[in-house]
């Protein structure tokens, strides 16, 4: 009964981890996942995906979900 957490790019570097598995107990939304794994409030401008779909921080999550946090994307540049 757990939730997979993934961090990318500058957020991954700041937290010093790219993946985490947390107990879903007491977790109701994506922001709760962040707080529990990162140990701090969710910074502004952080993007959230639940099961590989963009989501809001208050999106409900449940056992087995994969929740990801990342900075604004920078795919362009051309």
């Amino acid at each position: 009964m757990s939730i997979t957490v993934r961090f990318f790019a500058s957020i991954r570097e700041k937290l010093g981890k790219e993946q985490d598995t947390i107990d879903s107990k007491g977790i109701s939304c994506a922001a709760d996942v962040w707080s529990k794994s990162a140990g701090m409030p969710l910074p502004r401008n952080t993007l959230v995906a639940v099961n590989m779909e963009y989501a809001r921080p208050d999106q409900p999550v449940r056992d087995g979900d994969e929740v990801a946090f990342f900075p604004p994307v920078t795919g362009g540049g051309w």
Partner: protein, 147 residues
């Protein structure tokens, strides 16, 4: 017919397009227009020399996302085929980063669908760039005025 490929190896977009097209004999004669965009790593950005770039991505989400936008483009415009190749990992200046090719009966559909895909890729696909400059490594941020 839509083909999407994420790769950490250097690729030659022109060879890939030629190969994809010749591998689709049913396309022959059906398309009048091919619009292509290739994004390539420059050796400068925001006033600094760029020696290398690391492109990080969220692999399964990127794949899913690219499949969806390619399908959306096919729904919005009458296009015959789409090829989308995106690099990740370590890149050097002059390396192609992305290649989008769209085959359609007419030029407007080909151009519009190609541009739509590129604009979506730039703003929504989960890719993050870290540049190596003479001042060290830096994450590229959208606020820094990436043109």
């Amino acid at each position: 017919m839509v083909k999407i490929r994420l790769t950490d190896r250097a690729f030659d977009p022109w060879q890939e397009i030629a190969r994809h097209q010749s591998g689709q004999p049913a396309l022959a004669g059906k398309f009048g227009a091919t619009a292509v965009f290739v994004g390539t790593l420059r050796d400068f950005n925001q006033g600094d020399a760029v020696q290398a770039m690391t492109l990080e991505h969220y692999a399964p989400m990127t794949q899913k996302y690219l499949e969806r936008v390619a399908q959306e483009a096919q729904g919005r415009w009458p296009v015959e085929d789409v090829l989308l190749i995106h690099r990740y990992g370590e890149l050097r200046p002059n390396d192609p980063i992305v290649c989008v090719a769209v085959w359609a009966a007419h030029r407007d559909s080909a151009f519009d669908a190609c541009r739509y895909l590129i604009d979506e890729l730039k703003t929504r696909a989960p890719f993050w760039k870290q540049e190596l400059t003479p001042q060290g490594r830096r994450w590229v941020t959208p606020e820094a005025g990436e043109p």
